[in-house]
């Protein structure tokens, strides 16, 4: 293992901001959810790299928790998308603005 931990952290930061860009720019809720998955995975990569650097598996447990949260978030988010599509016949987040005050 010759790769320094800062390389992994830099990679994780780049991947996180690709995810942020996806959420901010795209208007398709499916792709926005995928961008959120990208951000969660970037956080996971940072956790695993730090865990390896300090030889402490608390980070692994945290990644396990994050994976669970990601699964729950994807399931609920996609459920909301399906439910919105049923009523609005559209999945563009700018068109579905019924809750706007």
């Amino acid at each position: 293992m010759t790769v320094d931990v800062s390389n992994y952290i830099a990679l994780s930061a780049v991947m996180f901001f690709i995810g942020v860009t996806g959420v901010v720019v795209r208007r398709n809720p499916l792709i926005m959810l995928m961008s959120i998955e990208l951000m969660l995975n970037a956080a996971n990569l940072a956790l695993v790299a730090f865990s390896r650097a300090w030889v402490n598996n608390a980070g692994h447990i945290f990644v396990f928790l994050v994976v669970t949260v990601a699964a729950a978030e994807a399931a609920i988010g996609l459920g909301i998308v399906v439910s919105v599509f049923r009523t609005a016949r559209n999945v563009d987040v700018d068109e579905v603005a019924r809750l706007r005050g």
């Binding site: 930061a13 792709i31 030889v55 729950a72 909301i80 700018d94």
Partner: protein, 200 residues
């Protein structure tokens, strides 16, 4: 080291591919490549159990969920309507917010005390990936999960329970089922049909 850079380039390229695609199906393909490369990173970081979890849960379950929802939403109506291109409107605020966030994280990364190299580790604690009873092996992870980290494990179960109940509540047909005649029920079924079949 060469392998790290090759994998890093593939990781970033697949992430960019994911958010650039017009059709969500191509995005799913990009995300699949991204998750597989990430699993390889986990294996090289002595986290073999998490690598397997990454492949099974993310590439197996979550991406299948995405594919099924895409198939459900676009069956029978062809590709979803595109709408006007809003990129010129959102480009300025988007770039500003992303750069501000990136500044915060860059500050954190550059100022964090991470100069310490990877701990070399004794042969007992940090062994070859795949061997038993070393750091990150399934036994190591399992012992930690069921003894010192039991509370996060139970919270995991609670989160999944809440998610299942929430999804059933949100996505099921929420209209009450009164004891009316056959005619009424058939009418409701006819209203429901276009979800799967016809477009506007």
């Amino acid at each position: 080291m060469i392998g790290f850079y090759v994998l890093a380039i593939v990781l970033i390229a697949s992430a960019i591919f994911t958010i650039m695609q017009r059709s969500p199906v191509y995005s799913v393909i990009g995300l699949l490549v991204n998750f597989i490369v990430l699993a390889v990173f986990y294996f090289t970081l002595n986290a073999e159990f998490l690598g397997v979890i990454q492949l099974v849960v993310y590439s197996g379950a979550i991406l299948m969920l995405f594919v099924f929802v895409i198939a459900l939403l676009s069956s029978g109506i062809g590709p979803l309507p595109e709408g006007p291109n809003r990129l010129p409107h959102v480009l300025g605020p988007a770039i500003a917010s992303v750069l501000v966030c990136f500044g915060f994280v860059a500050y954190g990364v550059l100022h964090a005390p991470m100069a310490a190299p990877m701990v070399a580790g004794s042969a007992k604690q940090l062994g070859l990936v795949g061997s038993a009873n070393v750091f990150g092996s399934v036994g190591d992870f399992g012992v930690a999960l069921f003894t010192t980290q039991l509370l996060p494990f139970e919270i995991t179960a609670f989160i999944l329970m809440v998610a299942v109940v929430g999804v059933v509540t949100i996505a099921s047909d929420a209209s009450p089922q009164p004891t009316r005649g056959q005619h009424e029920r058939r009418k409701r079924a006819k209203e429901r049909e276009p979800i799967v079949k016809a477009g506007r």
